[in-house]
């Protein structure tokens, strides 16, 4: 049995060299200490309980809770997503599918050359780690606090782009429409565009 591994000889091991900490054994607790546990449970009965009556009462989440994703918009309504797929590549659970598309004069969905043509997040796979949000170069992808994502069909849990897009706010125009006159995608990126321009609506 010792063909390949020669064990140490007994004399080679200095037992005293093996370091160890002497642990003081506490032994059984006193009777009073054991009885204290009963007081803990008894007194707990008269404390306010921590249950949230969930479907009736919805407690707010922590402000930075990782909930459902949202695809944000520029202040004039154009989408921030440029279809770069970095979120999909960052995703450890392979939950995101992105297909980019070219912006054409008649179909301008985001500033610059490219937009996300197909954008799907599979919430059966998503682990809400937020790596996609970190990866997004345009802050298009962020997370909301919405956590009620249960459903009864697998298909319903694959969220499409229209499910994820942020709602249109005051001063926003629904894309596709041209970019703000005189502004480049860099201006958009820097936040120079504050609202939509009347001329954008006419040609949309």
């Amino acid at each position: 049995m010792t063909d390949f591994i020669e064990p140490h000889k007994k004399s080679e091991i200095d037992i005293n060299a093996v370091s160890f900490d002497e642990v003081k054994q506490p032994g059984p607790a006193s009777f009073i200490n054991q009885a204290k546990g009963f007081w803990v449970t008894f007194s707990t009965m008269f404390k306010k309980n921590q249950t949230v009556q969930y479907p009736d009462v919805k407690a707010p989440t922590a402000p930075r809770f990782h909930g459902r994703h949202q695809l944000n918009r520029h202040p004039d309504g154009l989408e921030k997503c440029i279809g770069c797929e970095l979120c999909a590549w960052a995703c450890p659970a392979d939950a995101i599918f992105v297909e980019g598309g070219n912006n054409t004069p008649g179909n301008q969905l985001s500033p610059g050359e490219r937009h996300g043509a197909v954008y799907q997040i599979n919430y059966l796979r998503c682990i809400f780690c937020g790596l996609c949000v970190e990866a997004c170069p345009t802050r298009a992808l962020t997370m909301t606090n919405e956590y009620e994502l249960a459903d009864d069909k697998r298909e319903k849990l694959i969220f499409e782009k229209e499910d994820l897009l942020a709602p249109l706010r005051q001063g926003m125009l629904a894309p596709p429409h041209p970019m703000y006159p005189g502004m480049t995608d860099t201006n958009y990126y820097n936040g120079d565009v504050k609202e939509s321009h009347p001329s954008q609506n006419g040609q949309g």
């Binding site: 064990p7 007994k10 091991i13 002497e22 009963f38 009965m45 249950t51």
Partner: protein, 408 residues
């Protein structure tokens, strides 16, 4: 007129009505007990517990029962079909039978008849309870065996070993009660406590041993190792589903109520009022005694819940050691003492002799326990230097060496 004579005068239909009443009381108690337990345990853990079905969730256990009844009834292919079906029936029916001799009220007026809410009064009533609960163990063993599966078998063996060992301690703790009351009939024991004083006071050690062993007997926390989820899945009823599982569930709770009722009867004065509150018994006639009875039973049930919320589960060997090496010997010793005192009393020995004997016993017990403490300390004393065991051990306070050499 004794209770036995009173019950003997019952017409047949009244006995049937009382049998039905006992059954209904047991089932309603179980439904309420499940709800109470879940709510109280929840309160002890800062939760709310079931509160959605009915007012305060009172109908929760009823809804659970309906759910269980509507579930698919699976009989495993490897199961012994007949035994598999009979086992839960044995377990449940025996628990109900134990209730037959529990006196729940004093003399009451039931449909124009003077009677007591007690199905029958046997001269050996308490032995009868021990007998039927022992038969109930068959339900557990057979359920475990007939499932044709490993975990239920292990769980069944564990529970039956547990119930049998703790029944010994339980039976021994009752012997002192028999000696003191001079009867094994439940109603006579209640009557004797009414004349003198609660057995829980005079026979305090018996009471403590009974309360511990009744928790062990009913397979409840901290003695619920037969259902240790981490080790044995669900114990003996792992393979059971639907109504058969509901029967085991019912049996467990009826059993808890039965042992609590027995404890009330034998140690806490039965259906009689607390000392000093005897006038309440005349308010509503005998029916008020039913309230006292249930107050006491609920108090015991609260102890069950409290234990479950507080204590962690014991290890199997610790549990068995506690039963056989602590409970049984101490209750044997206590019986000897009680018997001696009783004989001295009955032979008209002077009070000083009795007190002297009691004092002698106390001195002997204390000296033995102090001697045991000393031997324990000796065993704990550190080994002399260089006196190392010949096998590898981790570092311990009394043996500082670590023998880690690998030899040929």
């Amino acid at each position: 007129m004794t209770t036995a004579e009173l019950l003997g005068a019952d017409p047949g239909w009244l006995i049937a009505v009382k049998g039905l009443l006992v059954f209904i009381i047991c089932v309603i108690c179980t439904l309420m007990a499940v709800w109470t337990e879940r709510r109280v345990l929840a309160k002890m853990q800062l939760r709310t517990g079931p509160n959605r079905v009915g007012k305060f969730g009172l109908l929760q256990s009823l809804a659970d029962g309906v759910k269980l009844a509507l579930k698919e009834d699976i009989i495993p292919a490897a199961a012994d079909k007949i035994v598999f079906i009979i086992a839960p029936i044995i377990a449940t029916s025996m628990c109900f039978m134990a209730f037959a001799v529990i006196p729940m009220t004093g003399v009451v007026n039931l449909f124009g008849h003077k009677t007591a809410l007690q199905l029958t009064d046997l001269p050996v009533g308490v032995l009868y309870i021990l007998a039927v609960t022992s038969i109930g163990v068959y339900g557990v063993v057979l359920a475990g065996w007939s499932s044709g599966s490993t975990y239920p078998l292990l769980g069944g063996l564990r529970s039956s070993a547990q119930v049998i060992s703790y029944e010994v301690a339980m039976g021994l703790s009752l012997v002192a009660v028999f000696i003191y009351a001079g009867s094994m009939s439940t109603s006579d024991i209640v009557a004797s406590q009414h004349q003198h004083i609660w057995n829980a006071v005079v026979l305090f050690p018996s009471f403590v041993i009974y309360v511990i062993s009744m928790v062990g007997e009913t397979n409840r926390a901290p003695f619920d190792l037969a259902e240790a989820e981490g080790e044995l899945v669900g114990g003996f009823h792992t393979e059971y589903s639907s109504l058969k599982f509901a029967l085991f569930f019912l049996a467990e709770y009826v059993n808890i109520i039965a042992v609590s009722a027995l404890a009330t009867t034998l140690f806490l004065g039965g259906y009689h009022a607390l000392p000093g509150l005897g006038f309440t018994e005349s308010w509503l006639g005998g029916w008020f005694t039913l309230i006292w009875f249930f107050i006491k039973v609920i108090a015991f049930f609260f102890i069950f819940m409290w234990l479950r919320a507080t204590l962690p589960r014991l290890r199997y060997d610790q549990f068995m050691k506690f039963g056989w090496k602590v409970l049984i010997p101490s209750s044997l010793l206590w019986i000897l003492i009680v018997a001696t005192l009783r004989v001295l009393q009955q032979q008209g020995a002077p009070r000083t002799t009795i007190l002297a004997f009691a004092g002698l016993v106390v001195v002997i017990v204390m000296s033995i326990s102090s001697l045991m403490d000393r031997t324990k300390q000796k065993a704990r004393a550190p080994l002399p230097d260089g006196d190392t065991p010949n096998f590898p051990i981790p570092s311990l306070p009394h043996a500082k060496s670590v023998n880690v050499s690998g030899g040929k």
